[in-house]
Symmetry: C2
Subunit: 158 residues, 2 copies
């Protein structure tokens, strides 16, 4: 549906935009508990990626999670998301560094805004990094907070 | 921080991934009310874009909303988000068609997964389209549900 020319036109539009401003924090009911849970979940995610443990990564998502990878099709469900990360790790993703910028929560849902830096090591290429910004919707289940919706996109071009 | 080679390495990683599966619906407390509110909000958003009314677009976001545009810096707050859309409309965005694929809710928070098709008309270029997939976190305030977090990214390359 989108040819390069079409993407080009939209890129022009986007490049006209002078985005701005730093990111602060909002407070909603239960936010401090949720923030601690989010940071704990992110630490586990980073640890699981660092040891290439796709099963542990998958366990951090809800059974009916939906992931929206940059330039990829939506990935639905814990098992498919585990396979996505397994493939990503086999493809060179060695570690992720997550920085949480904002958390808000209400009841059993929380939303997180953050940035991620990936270390990538592909056979025959120099080590590389990639960064993205993201929104994760976390959901509290019987056994704790899990990632329920997960989407990221590219930072501004340098 | 990211050169073209680095992005290239990550693109290779992403392109290795065979993403899959269709998107269903999850049900959580209050989801049917939230879904109706989300669809109403999206209709208002599309109408506001179609008449190039940046003020009406901005009013659909919370005062402390955060938007994460594809390849752009984060945009914080209703006013800055209104300016973003004003610039986008001046830059050629004429209409948006939103398709809601999933809504879940709990209390005063809801999350939406969907796709968007933009019609873009830049002076001196043929009319173009661009599509994206997105996650929006909606928040119920005293005067109704508003967009609180808004992020989108590119579909798979064709």
């Amino acid at each position: 549906m989108i040819g390069p020319g079409r993407i080009g036109a939209f890129a022009v539009t986007v490049s006209l935009i002078v985005a701005a401003s730093s990111v602060g924090r909002t407070e909603e009911a239960g936010t401090s508990d949720a923030r601690a849970a989010v940071e704990k979940g992110n630490a586990r995610f980073s640890e699981a990626i660092a040891r290439s443990d796709a099963k542990a990564v998958a366990a951090l998502y809800t059974e009916d999670a939906i992931m929206l990878p940059e330039r990829g099709a939506m990935v639905k469900g814990r098992q498919a998301i585990g396979e996505f990360w397994k493939t990503a790790m086999e493809g060179g993703v060695k570690s992720v560094t997550l920085t949480t910028l904002d958390v808000g929560a209400n009841g059993d849902l929380a939303h997180e805004v953050g940035t991620v830096l990936l270390m990538i090591n592909v056979e025959g290429r120099p080590p590389a990094t990639a960064s993205a910004k993201y929104v994760v919707v976390w959901k509290r289940e019987a056994d704790g907070w899990k990632m329920h919706r997960d989407i990221w996109n590219d930072p501004p071009p340098e």
